[in-house]
């Protein structure tokens, strides 16, 4: 808290504080991040709670159920999802590079790194769609499952579907940011803000992957 401003005496202390801050920033010195970034953080917190609610619901029904299936084989499912995880993690690295280039005002370079990130996102979506196709082939539906409780299908598709939607939105969002940034219409902070979103989507997968996949491997 900005204690120097709490003395209540308008005058020297206040003037100094005002001089340090831009005209609109009030007593905001400890919160010197931009509005958009703060907004994105709040959104991320909110969205994280959405996923937490869903993950808790998933864990709850899973623990409560006595015939939760273990459908995933080491090959192909786990190998495939490990590759997906790797792709997503790599895309976070390229995003870091994009943000870095953005800070240095290397706009074209930043756009290229973002394009690489989008490529990672798209690869993830394609691999995930293939994985979905295989499961649907085996008879898993939103409301039924060939093994054990039908809840498996519900939980699986709702969770991974919501996450995939986030990745897809992220790809579109990054595309917009890259284009506008390359044209000089956005600032490097906007790139950083889009990076926050991307890392968040990545992080969510780091919860879904162990909870949904690794805990449901059929040992044979």
């Amino acid at each position: 808290m900005a204690t120097h401003e709490l003395t209540g005496t308008p005058g020297a202390a206040l003037d100094a504080a005002v001089a340090r801050e831009s005209a609109w920033s009030g007593g905001g010195s400890p919160y010197a991040i931009g509005s958009k970034k703060l907004g994105m953080w709040l959104f991320i917190i909110s969205d994280a709670i959405t996923f937490s609610a869903l993950l808790i619901a998933y864990s709850y029904v899973r623990v409560a159920s006595n015939d939760w299936p273990m459908p995933f084989h080491f090959w192909p499912s786990i190998i495939k999802t490990t590759v997906m995880t790797f792709v997503l993690l790599t895309s976070s690295v390229t995003m870091v590079m994009a943000v870095h280039a953005g800070k240095l005002e290397r706009r074209a370079t930043a756009a290229k790194w973002i394009a690489a990130t989008m490529l990672g996102g798209l690869t993830f979506i394609v691999l995930h769609a293939l994985e979905w196709r295989d499961l649907i082939h085996e008879g898993v539906r939103l409301f039924q499952s060939p093994w054990g409780t039908p809840l498996f299908g519900a939980a699986f598709f709702t969770l991974t579907g919501l996450h995939m939607t986030h990745v897809a939105i992220g790809v579109v969002y990054l595309g917009t940011v890259a284009t506008l940034f390359a044209r000089g219409r956005l600032s490097s902070e906007d790139v950083e803000v889009s990076g926050l979103y991307w890392h968040f989507v990545d992080l969510v997968w780091m919860f879904i992957f162990p909870l949904v996949y690794l805990l449901s491997v059929r040992m044979s």
Binding site: M1, A2, E5, L6, G8, P10, L14, A17, V18, E21, A23, W24, S25, G26, G27, G28, Y31, G34, S35, L38, G39, L42, F43, I45, S46, D47, I49, T50, A53, L54, A57, Y60, V61, A64, S65, D67, L142, F143, T149, P150, L151, G153, A154, A155, T158
Partner: protein, 540 residues
Amino acid sequence: MSTTAVAPTTGVNYLNAQYGIRSWLLTTDHKRIALLYLGSVTFFFLIGGAAAVLMRLHLIEPQGALLEPATYNKMFSMHGIIMVFFFLIPSIPAVMGNFLVPMMVGARDLAFPRLNLLSWYVYIVGGLFTLYAVVAGGVDTGWTFYTPLSTTYANGNVMAAALGVFITGFSSILTGLNFVVTIHKMRAPGLTWFRLPLFLWAIYATSIIMILGTPVLAITLLLVALERTFHVGIFDPALGGDPILFQHLFWFYSHPAVYIMILPSMGVVSELVTCFSRKRIFGYSFVAFSSVAIAVISFLVWGHHMFVSGQSVYAGLVFSALSFAVAIPSAIKVFNWTATLYKGSVSYQAPMLYALGFIGLFTMGGLTGLFLASLATDIHLHDTYFVIAHFHYIMVGGALMGYLGGLHFWWPKMTGRLYPDGWARFSALVIFIGFNLTFFPQYILGYLGMPRRYAVYPEEFQVLNVMSSAGASILAVGYLIPLVYFIWSIRYGPPAGPNPWGAKGLEWETPSPPPTENFEEVPVVEEEAYAYGEKEAHVV
């Protein structure tokens, strides 16, 4: 009233800066968006109110006077859904918050003006879904959408109604996000955290709850809609799911949501009580931090809605204790308001009457909450009219009174016009009397064992029910009077001048109605909030 004789504002202001329907529907001016919300929440209030009138008419006779039982179920569901999600939750935050947050921090607009307009559209789309559900035959799940009733047995348009509430949820989240960023980032020079008006502390705490709680409701209702349509089974025991899980998720949001409804009103009351006592609020930081404390603790008490749902006794004990704890910060506020009145030069203008009404009725509602939070008494009182009376004392006697008080206080600022003070005081009185006559008998009915959500009741409860219905008609008149004189004042009200109440705060330092950019130059804040009588003090 110290109507400073300022000539009618001839200058350009936010209302006459542009004309035409497009200039309203595409506006990004927070003040115009506030008025869009004012129109929409009033519309929903009237619909929800109409349902209430029909229910009270129906309950005049033990076997029901008016409606089919199935229709009665649809009435109370529609009433609850509309009043909670489409009136009370957006009321103060979206109307007064939108209007006042930028003005109180000395800014030109919210941090994200276009996002703000988007929030209104999202709200309207959600509202349309819900209205569709009503027109297409109604819903009969109650506002709580309990499973398996909502997913399996209910008739009607659960899907549309649940999606409507789901969609409006995003409007809340975005509005809350906008407020938090604005309060952090856009305060005028010199406006430190502890100089903020308490209304802003309350809005800040409310916004935090909106951001943290609403996503859980959204995802829960989405699951209900999925389950209803595709039978996915998360809440269906036949498929391995659990209906109690729904209750946990629902109340994890909906208990904090009751504070989304009451905290902003508490903020308004803090403003009114100091202004009309001409005294700095007693214990500023206690009032400020109690808002934050309420926001935090409110997330830990949801289980008190599930004492009889088969939750473990130990969980019940903890939830009961925490529910008692949440009453402490509420009580702190009541004590501080009362202490502010003490030795203040209190004047009883209309906004103040509403504020005093709030304090009394909220106290009643809060204290009866403690009866419900006690495990043993709740087993008797759960799902009776006692619960109905409890939350109406808080939501209608409290939150709605605060909303009306705020509307009367800032109306001159919003429109530049004064309304007739005599009528306004009269309506405050009618509302207070009508309210108590409507809801006090319901405490007794509940205590005697009349369950809620029934279309018929035993003969011996008729006297109390008729009293309640009579009170409701008085209450309805009380709400219609302000509607008439507010509309009247827009054309015929005398000009208000910048500061008709002699109040402190940045919003009063600019013309009424304010210019589009709010302040001609960036205001600099050099005094504490509510520095009433500060000048005299310095002279001494």
